[in-house]
Each structure stands twice: as structure tokens, then as C-alpha cells.
């Protein structure tokens, strides 16, 4: 018995020690350009990529059918998770009872979900509000403003200039609202930007960087209230904060030896 207890304790020590040693951040960041690349950047021209952003909407379940599907998924996974947490025979019970959880979840989901027409109308309102903002055009303006403010050492070529040696191309790849796969989730404003440094002489890509703005979550109704004012304010904030980060990471941040 003592041997068993001792073995369990030592296993716990090893497990916790290895857990504490985790948290490696190395895969969670992108490398900035090398100092050699940066040294060759002169007369940088900021441009908007000629692409339309993809609209993203991961909102509430649409109608009783959509609610039932999500409710079934939540019910099944919730039952199995509860069983796994209990351990031992609970794992088996969780698997056996998963269909019951799915059935209950489907009934609740179908009852709670908003009508499909209403959600589709809200989705159209979000899409129209974001399209009207023309964020893809504003993103390059935000980036140029950030460059002037943050990197006075970099020469910025005029948009019409043909003397630029490097193009700093900014693209809004995706934007919209996103949330967890539940019946009526709170949603976050999401905007993905990609920046590229391109050699003007031959169009070769020197460096590429992608960053994502993900706001705090709010109910969909809050995003749409007062003529979508919250949506517009968040988009403006995202434009400036993404630009600041892009300029920081592409032109300024120094990580000795790759260490953050």
C-alpha cells in the first residue's frame, strides 16, 4: 500500500513539475524582420492590398433547427466532460449518457434559439455597417499615420512616388463578429490584417506578418444598437491598434536571439 501511495505522490510531483516548466512562449510570436532587412528599408511606400476582406459572422444559432444542432452538441460534450471529470466509471457513464445529453440539449437549444430570419437580418446589418466603413482603405491610412508617428527614422515615399524602394502593403483579410459555438453567444469584433514588405524593383516579398484584433465580447444586440455605433467605434480602434502593432513589430521591435 505504501509503495502505491509513494508511487502516486512521485508521479504527482513529476506531473506538476513538468506542468510548471511548460508555458513556452516561443511558438506564440512571429519573428520581426532581421536587422539586415531593416537596414535596407528606405523610401517606404504604404499601400492598400487590392483585395476585399472576407466577412466573418459566427453568431447566434439560426432558428429552432440551428439551436437544436448546437444544443445537441453542447449537451453531448457537456455530459462526456462531466463524466470524465468524475473519473473511473464516470467516463463510461458520460459516454453512455451522451445521447441523452444531446437530446436534452437539442430540446433546450431549439426552444432558446432566435428565429432564423431575425439572425439573418442582424447578420446583414453587421455586414452592411462594416462594408460602409471601407476599412480596407482606412487600414493603409492608419498604417501610414502610425509610421509617421512611430518611426521618424524611416523615409516614407508619397503614394504617387515612383522612387520608393520598398512597398509596405497592408491588407484587411477578414473582419466581422465571432463567438463560441453556443445558442446565443456574446460576440467579439474580429479583424485580421496582413502586412507585407515587398521590393519595389521586382515585386519580391521580403517579409510578411499577420495580426488579429479580437475585442471584448458583447451581445449582438449591443453591437447593433444606436445605428451600430459600437461596431464603428471598435472598427476605428482596431484600425489604429493594428497599425501601431504592425509598425512596432515590422520596424521597431528588437528581440535579441529571438527571445521575447
Amino acid at each position: 500500500m505504501r509503495r502505491v501511495v509513494g508511487l502516486v505522490l512521485m508521479t504527482a510531483v513529476l506531473a506538476i513539475q513538468s506542468g510548471c516548466a511548460g508555458g513556452t512562449a516561443a511558438k506564440r510570436y512571429q519573428f520581426p524582420p532581421s536587422e539586415d532587412v531593416r537596414a535596407r528599408l528606405a523610401d517606404v511606400q504604404v499601400t492598400a492590398a487590392p483585395t476585399e476582406p472576407t466577412f466573418q459572422f459566427e453568431g447566434p444559432a439560426k432558428g429552432a433547427g440551428g439551436g437544436a444542432r448546437r444544443g445537441a452538441g453542447m449537451g453531448a460534450t457537456g455530459t462526456m466532460a462531466a463524466g470524465a471529470a468524475a473519473g473511473g466509471y464516470g467516463v463510461l457513464a458520460g459516454i453512455v449518457l451522451a445521447p441523452v445529453g444531446a437530446l436534452v440539449g437539442a430540446i433546450v437549444g431549439a426552444a432558446k434559439a432566435a428565429p432564423a430570419e431575425k439572425v439573418e437580418q442582424q447578420e446583414r446589418a453587421v455586414r452592411d455597417a462594416l462594408q460602409a466603413l471601407k476599412i480596407e482603405e482606412g487600414a493603409s491610412a492608419c498604417a501610414e499615420e502610425a509610421m509617421r508617428r512611430q518611426t521618424p527614422q524611416t523615409r516614407i515615399a508619397a503614394a504617387s512616388s515612383e522612387t520608393a524602394s520598398t512597398i509596405f502593403e497592408v491588407a484587411v483579410e477578414r473582419l466581422g463578429l465571432t463567438g463560441p459555438w453556443t445558442i446565443n453567444p456574446s460576440l467579439s469584433f474580429i479583424m485580421t490584417e496582413r502586412a507585407r514588405l515587398v521590393r519595389a524593383s521586382d515585386g519580391a516579398e521580403i517579409y510578411s506578418y499577420r495580426t488579429v484584433y479580437l475585442s471584448r465580447s458583447r451581445p449582438l444586440e449591443e453591437w447593433l444598437a444606436a445605428d451600430e455605433s459600437a461596431l464603428r467605434e471598435e472598427a476605428t480602434r482596431a484600425c489604429h491598434e493594428l497599425a501601431e502593432r504592425l509598425v512596432d513589430d515590422v520596424f521597431l521591435v528588437y528581440r535579441p536571439g529571438g527571445r521575447p
Binding site: I16, C20, S217, E241
Partner: protein, 173 residues
């Protein structure tokens, strides 16, 4: 059996006594894992104008040939991020305080913060490397979840809670 239990507890405590994973400069004293406080990351300010301290730059790991070093400090009001599992429980909201050109790794907030309010703060170094301006990452914890540094607003800035009541000029936080 008792020596085994004692050894186990010592190893458990000792094994976790290391700094929280982070990027950029860290507050001083450095936050260590393995403490017994209910919320070891949260710092409670003694004053509505707390004194914030952080690591000196350059650190041993940084390039030695840096010059014109200064620090930038930002404080945001924290916003709760409910119903967003895995995305950070609080996020930086309104930027309420910003200073640049600080020459020492310590700063007393010059204007009182709101009482009984959760704020997030961060610092970074600005310096010259071979004549070119460079900065460190904004300091942030990569804990409890190592959020990607390219996610904005950044998760993991350092939380500080102001005391309730009126302004009181007390000792450093």
C-alpha cells in the same frame, strides 16, 4: 511515510518557484509561480497614485551595445470579457495613462487613478541599437494561457487594483 510526504511537498513547492512565463520587461519584484496567495498575479496598490517598478534594461540577455535608453509606460482600465472562454477574462480598455521618456525603471503615477478599480499596466524600453531606434515588446504575462503576441488587444498585461476610498499619499505599491 511522513518523510516521503514532506519530501513531496518540498518538491511541489520548489518545482514551481520560478517566474511566470512572460515577454518583455517584467514588474519588480518579479512574479513567481508557486505562491500560496489566492490571486498571485494581482497586485493591490496602497495608493491611488501607485509607484510602479520594473526590470532595468538592458537585461543580461539583451544586446549590450544599446544607448539612449528610456522607458514607456501605459495604464489601461480593465474591461471584463465575459462569455469568452479562452480569450482572456480581462482586456485593456480605455488608455488612461501614458508616459514616455522615463529614464528610471520606476514611476509614481502622477494623476490619481479611480478608487476600487482594476487596471492593467505595461512597460517597454526604447533605445538605440547601432544608431537605430528600437523597442522591446510590451511586457506581458504568458499565463495562465500563452496568448499569441500578435493578438490585439494584448492579453496578459499586469493587473493592479486600486484601493477603495479617497486619495491617500502612502508608500509605494
Amino acid at each position: 511515510m511522513r518523510p516521503m510526504l514532506g519530501l513531496t511537498l518540498i518538491l511541489l513547492a520548489g518545482g514551481c518557484a520560478r517566474p511566470y512565463p512572460s515577454i518583455g520587461l517584467r514588474p519588480v519584484p518579479v512574479l513567481m509561480m508557486g505562491g500560496w496567495a489566492p490571486d498571485p498575479i494581482l497586485r493591490r496598490a496602497d495608493d491611488l497614485q501607485p509607484t510602479l517598478r520594473w526590470e532595468t534594461f538592458p537585461r543580461p540577455v539583451d544586446a549590450p551595445a544599446v544607448s539612449n535608453i528610456s522607458y514607456e509606460l501605459r495604464i489601461w482600465r480593465a474591461e471584463k470579457n465575459q462569455d469568452a472562454p479562452g480569450q482572456g477574462l480581462v482586456l485593456p480598455g480605455e488608455l488612461v495613462y501614458a508616459r514616455a521618456g522615463l529614464v528610471e525603471p520606476v514611476h509614481r503615477v502622477e494623476t490619481p487613478l479611480e478608487p476600487d478599480t482594476l487596471y492593467l499596466w505595461s512597460i517597454r524600453a526604447r533605445f538605440e541599437l547601432e544608431g537605430r531606434v528600437r523597442v522591446t515588446d510590451w511586457g506581458a504575462l504568458m499565463f495562465p494561457r500563452p496568448f499569441p503576441t500578435w493578438l490585439i488587444p494584448a492579453r496578459g498585461y499586469y493587473p493592479i487594483k486600486t484601493p477603495s476610498g479617497t486619495v491617500r499619499h502612502g508608500p509605494a505599491a
